[in-house]
């Protein structure tokens, strides 16, 4: 049992044009930086990307957008990326904006083997268009399908050679859910250790969900808004 691959380039080697990818992260927090760079370098195109945000213009998924490698984005908020908003408004980029909770739950549903879930988010709005709905206990819910992604690319803090993952602080966000949901899950971690090192009680994502793992390098961990308070 050894899921370790050499690096990001090796991890994404079989991702081809037209693939549907899940990419973890919230804003720039917890994004798989190494794999995104490798996808940029590979030049793979026509991607459908499921990710909560689109990075900023010159970092994260923004790099793929800049190079027109993305055909469609499925996200909940894209406000930090002016290039994204421009491509959206001009019609160059296909975009599906969905509620953040729905995005998270559709990943979770895929990982839990549930074909669909019901959520009240979006009832009575344009998000509800074309969707089935049902009333439970007098309240209306939309039926939302589990995502179907070829690859899930996630970032974790620590991982072991069996693919078990531990996340740190708010860089966790969508990563555990996407890890469960991908047909093939690629995990890049800050620290890779031999199986048996991590306390089984403290593992967040069991390795059964993870197919490839590698220790990443040179994490920039860019901060979008560096807000501080003064010492009195």
């Amino acid at each position: 049992m050894n899921k370790v691959v050499l690096d990001a380039k090796a991890a994404v080697a079989d991702i081809g044009d037209g693939a549907t990818l899940m990419l973890g992260g919230f804003g720039l927090c917890g994004i798989p930086e190494n794999c995104i760079s490798a996808l940029v370098e590979k030049g793979v195109k026509q991607l459908t990307c499921i990710s909560n945000n689109a990075g900023v213009d010159d970092f994260g998924i923004g790099l793929l957008l800049q190079r027109r490698q993305v055909k469609k984005m499925i996200s909940s908020y894209v406000g930090e990326n002016a290039e994204f908003e421009r491509q959206l408004l001009s019609g160059e980029l296909e975009v599906e904006l969905i509620p953040q909770g729905t995005l998270a739950t559709r990943c979770m549903a895929a990982g839990y083997g549930m074909p669909a879930v019901f959520t009240p988010a979006g009832v009575g709005t344009e998000v509800a268009e074309g969707k089935e709905s049902r009333v439970f206990n007098g309240k209306e819910y939309l039926m939302e399908y589990a995502f179907d992604a070829d690859f899930a690319i996630v970032k974790a803090w620590k991982g072991d050679t069996h693919g078990n993952l531990i996340f740190r602080a708010t860089s966790r966000n969508f990563n555990p859910l996407m890890a469960m949901a991908g047909k093939v899950t690629i995990a890049e971690v800050e620290e890779l250790v031999p199986a048996g090192t991590l306390d089984p009680n403290l593992i967040h994502t069991p390795g059964i969900y993870v197919h490839r793992i590698f220790e990443g390098v040179n994490y920039e961990k860019r901060i979008e808004q560096r807000t501080t308070r003064k010492k009195l």
């Binding site: 804003g27 729905t102 988010a121 998000v127 859910l177 979008e224």
Partner: protein
């Protein structure tokens, strides 16, 4: 009239000890600065944290620790991290006692629009639709009129809807309003604001009961 800090300060009075609270970006985040003495609340950040603390001191920023507005923050004793499905799960399951968010428009039936201006601003809805569809208790912090002086408390929303019939209370620079089946009900007047000013600024159905209070903020 209230400025944004006054609006935040007034909303903070609604916090009760032991509440779990979600504060949206913009004016709602300021509510955290005015939590009343003796009231302990736990702030939820929908990107996966209960127990959001203040901004860090300079030099102590942690890139792995941000809030829903992508700002660096800290934790407090009792904080816990979790993933995004659990985050919205606790919202949907009604565990969050109070949600405060901003709005571009609110209708007199409680509809809210706060996520899109077609052709101009399409940043996305983020967690707003989940929050308004599930929250037990929603307070909107907003400007009563826009820069052109047009009312934002309307008979019906003209902008794309975030949620239907979900807002129960609105606090603006002019005062505090409940939303009932009669429309906007004025409860408190902001300092130096007259009823006439409220009437002139409110396009939706407005009820002015006899027992309107004059708001006093320390």
């Amino acid at each position: 009239m209230l400025d944004k800090h006054g609006i935040a300060k007034r909303i903070a009075r609604e916090l009760q000890d032991g509440f779990y609270v979600n504060l949206g970006i913009g004016i709602p985040t300021l509510v955290a600065n005015y939590i009343p003495e003796g009231v302990e609340v736990v702030l939820q950040s929908e990107n996966g944290l209960l127990g959001m603390g203040p901004f860090p001191f300079e030099g102590e920023e942690d890139p792995d620790l941000i809030n829903a507005g992508k700002q660096t923050i800290t934790t407090v004793p009792g904080s816990v991290f979790f993933d995004s499905a659990m985050s919205f799960g606790m919202i949907r399951a009604g565990k969050v006692d109070l949600t405060v968010l901003g709005a571009m428009e609110v209708a007199d039936n409680g509809d809210i629009a706060n996520w899109k201006i077609p052709g101009k601003m399409v940043k996305g809805m983020g967690g707003a639709m989940d929050l308004v569809a599930s929250a037990k208790n929603i307070i909107v912090a907003m400007q009563h009129v826009n820069k052109a002086g047009e009312s934002k408390l309307l008979p019906a929303c003209s902008l794309p809807i975030t949620g239907r019939r979900c807002v129960k209370k609105v606090v603006t620079e002019l005062g505090v309003f409940d939303i009932t089946d009669q429309g906007f009900v004025l409860r408190e007047l902001a300092p130096e604001v007259s009823v006439e000013q409220v009437r002139a600024s409110t396009a939706g159905r407005l009820v002015v009961p006899d027992n309107v209070i004059q708001m006093v903020l320390s």
